[in-house]
Symmetry: C2
Subunit: 371 residues, 2 copies
């Protein structure tokens, strides 16, 4: 512990396991810092540039190209940027796509439930599967446990459950029904086959960038002929036709996303992210599995999240102590979500393996001392 304390003293940057807004790559932040007053010799900060000027246009195009490359987005799909986070999409998805029909939702915790509730206000939604066992969300449902409506407008699920610490490692098969996923907390954690999805949406503030931009990747048809009874600003069609520039885009968050994607690409893209994330997951879950009576996990092993491992300690007092001791090492953001308590270690792409090693070393020391 002394060695770790000494290390913490000389660190200028803290170890940040925040669930989102979350750690960003240091290189992405440094690039922003370097040119914050003067974007590419223009004498103007990127955040002072018009969203219709040639400087921002370059950022916009490069960011789109990076997404297309890193996620291998097929020609059948279009990439959009919106505002309002995933929470706005909880409403906009049914507003645009229900069209008088019913939609299926898989219930895997807080966020999937919020999406379901909004759909139920807009129109009709039903629960097609749940991760709840004895009142707790301890897993994601398997394919044969789903009760799918073949006439549903779409099937919606949440690929990673930030609060519950669960994640889909195999995606549901919705058959002929359009498949819609909220990937806010695990988009780009590994390569995916975009063509399997009719719509992917994600708030940026986990793997992708700072808060303020929502990413949508959807089949082009799905962004057409949006209901005319919706205000123009809430029609996907408006956003798609305007290339996400129908109104002022949050220029700086989008620019930061570009910086983050440049970093992802330089590191080796989605395959390299997956490699690192699996290494981090093995470190963290290895620690849990070594001392399961102390680091208490109630998540089914095959539903474990590689983004947000959660666990409890034997008492709330120990959890409090754990967080306090971690803070002495400048380890922050590990308090579980207020709705569930416990410890949560969010390990998005920008979290280096070394941070997780340090955390695991600290946690084992803590176990020896207080276990």
């Amino acid at each position: 512990m002394d060695r770790l304390l000494e290390f913490a003293r000389i660190m200028t940057r803290a170890i940040n396991f925040s669930a989102g807004p979350a750690a960003l790559p240091l290189e992405a932040l440094k690039a922003a810092q370097d040119e914050l007053l003067d974007f590419e010799g223009s004498g103007i900060s990127i955040m002072e540039h018009s969203h219709r000027g040639k400087e921002y246009a370059r950022v916009h195009e490069e960011t789109k190209a990076l997404f297309h490359e890193l996620l291998n987005i097929p020609d059948t799909h279009q990439l959009l940027f919106m505002q309002g986070g995933a929470s706005a999409q909880f409403a906009l998805v049914p507003m645009n796509l229900l069209r008088g029909r019913s939609a299926d939702y898989i219930d895997t915790g807080t966020w999937s439930k919020k999406a379901f509730n909004e759909a139920n206000i807009v129109g009709k939604a039903r629960i097609a599967g749940t991760g709840k066992v004895d009142g707790r969300y301890t897993r994601v449902p398997k394919q044969d446990e789903l009760d799918l409506d073949p006439n549903a407008a779409y099937l919606h699920f949440t690929s990673n459950n930030t609060i519950m610490g669960t994640q889909f490692h195999e995606f549901p098969d919705s058959g002929d029904v359009p498949l819609i996923v909220d990937m806010s907390s695990d988009l780009l954690w590994r390569p995916i086959d975009v063509s399997k999805f009719d719509l992917i949406y994600a708030g940026a503030q986990k793997n992708i960038g700072p808060a303020g931009i929502t990413i949508l990747i959807g089949r082009k048809e799905l962004f057409q002929d949006s209901p005319k009874e919706l205000p123009a600003i809430f029609r996907y069609e408006t956003v798609a036709e305007g290339d996400s520039l129908h109104n002022t885009i949050p220029v700086f968050p989008l620019y930061m996303i570009r910086n983050v994607l440049r970093w992802v690409k330089a590191q080796g893209g989605a395959p390299e992210m997956e490699k690192r994330n699996r290494t981090k997951g093995e470190l963290l879950y290895g620690m849990i599995d070594e001392a399961p009576d102390f680091f208490r996990s109630h998540i089914d092993k095959d539903s474990r999240s590689f983004m947000n491992p959660v666990f409890r300690l034997p008492s709330e007092d120990l959890e409090k102590k754990f967080i306090e001791e971690a803070a002495k090492l400048r380890i922050s953001g590990i308090k579980g979500h207020r709705s569930v308590g416990g410890i949560r270690v969010s390990m998005y792409n920008a979290v280096p393996i070394e941070w997780v090693q340090t955390f695991v070393e600290f946690a084992r020391d803590f176990h020896k001392k207080f276990g």
Copy 2:
């Protein structure tokens, strides 16, 4: 001109008259640059901090307090932050406030028309006055020209018309009908009596900060009992009850707003902003009035915008030349909106008087040379 060219060569920052996103105070940018990797010794960038953490909480509270102080917001009103820009409010205002009635809209150009169109999709809206004369928006209507519906759900107007270059210098009196204003491009340009308005809304990217946050200042009652048939995320009630933190707020844009408001306060607040803005306006309109055959304005004098003066030159070729010559002096952002052409010089709070002096000197030189 040689002196100006020499000056442009040694400037590290360009002169930016962009209509928005627009110039920000250099001090606000520098403060962000200094602590971009490490917010107040936390070892974490402000954009990596959780919106529920104590660091961001301080930014949130300070920003609210600064707005309250600088705009003298009375206890009857609440300040909210939302996403989606004024364009989202064009829809959300009628969605929340029409409630089956009809609303009155004053038509003063592109943005007011967009707001009217969205209201007409959501419900019923009527035009209660116009700034259009012979097919062009050359003024804002006077009180006795308004045709007000005493039973309207509200009266909506746009205080400053960024594209047309017009501005309300006296606000409409709506009697007992709630008064709603889009102040996107002139909030905080001078002191206002907030109590006269039932709702003020504004996209940040003019006087207030970078793009990504919308400011709402409204009567508390107006943010209560929002229609239950609206998705939770689009109910003002949700935002008001959650203190604008019901979902993830764009942390960095909000932080930049704090930096900008700190600067406004340090300069002397809204009265000092008004003083400077009037000086800039006098310089610019003085130049126009000296040579009205060359710098051609079609805006009524008492409707002139102090934020976005617009004018034409005798030919489009001269306008092109004017923009090119200005660029040599690193003067940017003066091309008029693509829908109307001509020249537009946006002079928000962060534009120093010196920039306008330089511009006027350049323009007079240009007139001598090419007039």
